[in-house]
Symmetry: D2
Subunit: 144 residues, 4 copies
């Protein structure tokens, strides 16, 4: 599922703006490879909360991450401002596979891209549950 | 140096906007107390870089942190957007004491406020050095 | 409450061992000032959990942080192994003030020391509650 | 390259012990998916430093991350202690592909496993360089 060449902004549906932080930079003066995943989490969960698909405090179901991956094409570093694009590339019975692209400033090519697999689970038992129709309808809008 | 009541936006000179992240929230569903310090670092160093007072990649001097503190007045949580206000409360020979306030959304009262003490050092030897006149002039503008 | 000179190991009651991580180091090649607070959180809450004073998943009360501070005496950097010493310096009706010292490897002097103020609150309402006698008894053991 | 079932400790060559931290746990009370990558970084770079294959402060070459991935099999949460196993699964001209497994406490099955691709680059130009014979010899020992 790993990309070999960077996508462009056209390849994504929905964007959010994320500011970088001083301590995103590691000893090499660029954003540490683990921070990209913080931005993936933020872009995906932020969208789900905004759309009413996730209520992490009191909803009966939540989405847990079962697989992630990232390809780093070029460096990002503080104080870059990032646009994080998301789309759904597979909508299963209880799982959703997202693709996320991180774009620096006005760049049209992604600096990094990853995938992010969510499973819809019961908050208490953490057993997988079918994604309901209302959620499925909204997630379908993220398929290009 | 710890504040007992929250300041308002009027008490600060310069602001930057910082987006929160999914993983800023800890098990209590609010921003973990350590993240506030990441925002302090970002607000202060971001301003220094923007003003040409810090070049962390190749400048002969850098600012190292020797003391920090924070008072937490009210909860911040993802997806809040934060305005971080900064001001200088003491400008010494080689050190600068900043106060930083974090304001949620449009709130006029700070959710948290801290102080942040920087010492100007030689990049290699890490020995304190006098802050030069050009820098001092710019830092003086942050004293209210 | 800020220390001017480093304490030694004798000044602390209880220690835990914490390993550092690659990404604790920032662009200056040393542990970023915000990571020290992650270690404070870990040392204090780890001890509380071990002693049965905190059950963050289902206990009726939890401890929230209302104030923190740190003085940085000397650099820590990955791959250092840290001993984190804790003690209680004030035990109030509903609050506890801890002091935490971070010691590198076999060093007898602290590399950094901080304070950490916890308030005992109701998990749901987040209103302060009196610390019960059983907890008070155990916390008293941390006063030197 | 993503694993479908967890490996056991036998599948790894070299282990390091990593302590978890309070703030590794996210709102779901388990280790956030991004922290696993911090542990991968720590296990791999820690081993390279210990073996004299990486000197991040002054070496002429460093290893940069170009691709990572992780499969999460079961939850890890603070205060778990982790054994991180590493092995090399591909040793190219200028790149190394590692597999890393995270084992909780005494568990024999990995809670999470990932891959981690390093490229050997010139510290200044960040252009890929052939991995020298001395390093290649040592990395070969990590192939099972």
């Amino acid at each position: 599922m790993v990309k070999q060449t960077p996508s462009t902004r056209d390849d994504y549906c929905v964007f959010s703006t994320i500011t970088t932080r001083w301590f995103d930079n590691d000893v090499y003066g660029h954003m540490n490879n683990t921070v990209h995943y913080q931005l993936f989490d933020t872009a995906v969960n932020g969208y789900l909360m905004e759309q009413g698909l996730l209520d992490f405090k009191s909803g009966p179901t939540v989405f847990l991450v079962v697989e992630t991956g990232c390809k780093y094409f070029s460096e990002i570093s503080f104080p870059d401002v990032i646009s994080a694009g998301i789309k759904v590339i597979k909508l299963g019975t209880s799982s959703v596979v997202y693709e996320v692209g991180l774009f620096r400033g006005d760049a049209d090519e992604a600096s990094a891209e990853g995938h992010f697999v969510h499973v819809n689970v019961d908050r208490e038992t953490r057993q997988p549950l079918v994604i309901n129709e209302a959620s499925r309808k909204k997630l379908n809008l993220l398929i290009q």
